[in-house]
């Protein structure tokens, strides 16, 4: 397995694959399907300071090669997560990426401080794409100023490295990436979902109760690849890439674009064994490509070639 390990701030991963936040709960359900210790890491569902019930249903819809979700950050709150959920993950001995969300800076800071103290939490992942109630419904994730300010605040209180999860619903992703890097982020996660909608022809209304939802799945992969390609050339902190990964080839493509590790979200729903199957396949694809160690391909689409590439 030594050709698959990657090393990011706070994350020593034996392979670059983790389930994406919100698509894997706190791990226990998929632990019924396979041994989670095969994973490179696990990103758990967003934690908020207080418990949240989330949005009314329907919360999901299917689109061509994608899906919309508007779960609304349902979670039992940071305290319950630490007492009831995290301990069950200890036995797998894999790094834990704790995703946090909130509606005010204070929210985020409280959750970040508390959660980052937990010994099982390896790093924080700041989900900055939620509506910011205080600033009148604007999201932290769509202006560099708000994202930078929030990152600074969270860095002040966090005891662990902080990854900032970028929203793709912006004009200039590099600007966002640079802003949070300068604010002290240890890494980036990208991309979160694209804002989308589906209208039900029968009711003639938006299908999701929340009206809009986040688009994920293979449909958005070209957008993710483009954004990771752009951002990775403008920052020197590592990127956890995500958006539409279904296969080992998708992992390679995203790492060539500039990701140092990847997260697999929607694919888990289509195939509960998605993560372990991708991990297994990775070796085969690297062999076919003649790559010695997976880290050699990170940013390979824009870096000068380290290993000779195959001719077309």
């Amino acid at each position: 397995m030594s050709r698959l390990n990657v090393s990011l701030p706070g994350l020593e991963m034996k392979n670059p694959i983790m389930p994406a936040s919100g698509c894997f709960g706190f791990g226990k359900e998929y632990a019924n399907w396979y041994d989670l210790s095969v994973l490179g890491a696990v990103a758990i569902k967003a934690a908020t300071a207080d418990p949240r019930f989330g949005n009314p249903t329907p919360r999901v819809a299917e689109t061509e090669a994608g899906m919309l979700n508007a779960i609304g950050l349902q979670n039992p709150g940071v305290e319950k997560i630490m007492s009831d959920e995290l301990p069950a993950l200890e036995k797998y001995r894999i790094p834990i990426v704790a995703n946090i969300a909130g509606t005010t800076e204070e929210d985020y800071m409280k959750t970040a401080e508390t959660l980052s103290k937990h010994p099982l939490v390896s790093v924080l992942e700041l989900n900055i794409s939620c509506p910011n109630v205080k600033e009148g419904g604007i999201q932290f994730g769509v202006t560099p100023e708000a994202a930078s300010a929030l990152t600074k605040k969270v860095k002040q209180v966090s005891h662990k490295p902080v990854y900032v999860k970028l929203s793709p619903n912006v004009r200039d992703i590099s600007e966002m990436a640079v802003a949070v890097e300068e604010a002290g982020a240890d890494g980036l996660s990208m991309i979160n979902t694209l804002l989308g909608m589906q209208i039900d022809l029968k009711s003639r209304r938006p299908l999701l109760a929340n009206k809009t939802g986040g688009l994920s799945g293979p449909a958005i992969k070209p957008v993710a690849i483009r954004m990771i390609y752009e951002a990775s050339q403008n920052v020197s902190i590592p990127i956890i890439g995500m958006g539409g990964i279904m296969t080992a080839e998708d992992v390679i493509e995203m790492m060539l674009a500039g990701a140092s590790a990847v997260a697999v979200g929607t694919a888990n729903f289509s195939n509960p064994y998605a993560c372990p199957e991708i991990i297994e396949e990775l070796e085969r694809v690297l062999d076919k490509m003649g790559v010695g160690h997976i880290t050699e391909i990170i940013g390979g689409s824009w870096k000068a070639c380290k290993t000779p590439s195959l001719s077309r």
Binding site: W33, P58, E64, Q74, P218, F269
Partner: protein
């Protein structure tokens, strides 16, 4: 709870847009609880990312055969209805918690189904009868052309039918069928159908033990994504239909 790749044995259309699909293979022998469901992959490649929840309609444990009855309505179920013998169906199952609780041993059960909520009641009815329970059925459909399995239910017990347009059985709703019977025998009620039906039934079954199977749009189907959450009268304030249910005591889920 496994991923199965089953062989199509037969596929036939048994009512307007209603298909009966039988598949077989290893893993089916675990499908012993009526009311549990399957999460069925539809379409090729990555075109349909979300699986479709379909109830277990009947199981032949000995021959590892599983029957689903479903309506071909949208993209996924229309695809499923085109599967032929020689092809495979990829499904997760059995998922969820079925009609396990409070089987009225030696007693009386009333099974109430509406439309495409009817299929799981067939397996349940068969199982209850095997356990010596007297079962009767109240089934509701839009119209005669939408109805199915009536004869098969008759073989298991008294079966009353209502249709919205009166083309079969009584004209009206399935809830209209149960008024007097419940007074007499105090059956345990098991129901599956649209939420309006379940709402009406909740009132109609006051004083009776009743277990309802609920529907909600699903993502993972295994309890991880929180897509299928409904408010509930319990400690956490909610249930996940896919993993806590789909069957609950009627009082638990707040419609």
């Amino acid at each position: 709870m496994r991923r199965l790749n089953l062989d199509v044995v037969s596929q036939s259309i048994i009512a307007d847009s209603i298909y009966e699909l039988t598949v077989e293979g290893s893993g089916v022998e675990n499908m012993r609880v009526p009311g549990q469901f399957l999460h069925v992959k539809t379409g090729e490649g990555h075109s349909s990312l979300l699986r479709r929840p379909i109830s277990i309609c009947d199981v032949d444990i000995l021959n590892q055969r599983l029957t689903m009855v479903y309506r071909a309505q949208g993209k996924g179920t229309v695809w499923l209805s085109a599967r032929k013998p020689g092809e495979k169906v990829d499904l997760l199952g059995p998922l969820g918690n079925g009609f396990t609780a409070a089987q009225p041993a030696g007693g009386e059960a009333l099974l109430v189904g509406g439309g495409i909520g009817v299929p799981p009641l067939y397996y349940l009815g068969r199982k209850l009868r095997e356990n010596g329970v007297r079962v009767s059925f109240a089934l509701g459909f839009q119209s005669k052309k939408d109805s199915f399995y009536i004869e098969k239910f008759h073989e298991l017990g008294q079966t009353d039918v209502a249709t919205a347009d009166g083309t079969l059985g009584m004209k009206g709703f399935v809830t209209d069928l149960i008024s007097d019977r419940k007074a007499k025998v105090k059956p345990v009620v098991f129901a599956c159908g649209p939420s309006q039906m379940l709402g009406a039934l909740k009132d109609k079954t006051k004083g009776l033990k009743a277990y309802f199977s609920f529907e909600e749009r699903m993502g993972c189907g295994v309890g991880a994504c929180f897509a299928c959450v409904c408010k509930a009268d319990n400690k956490s304030g909610y249930v996940k239909i896919c993993s806590d249910g789909p069957v609950f005591a009627k009082e638990e889920v707040l419609l």
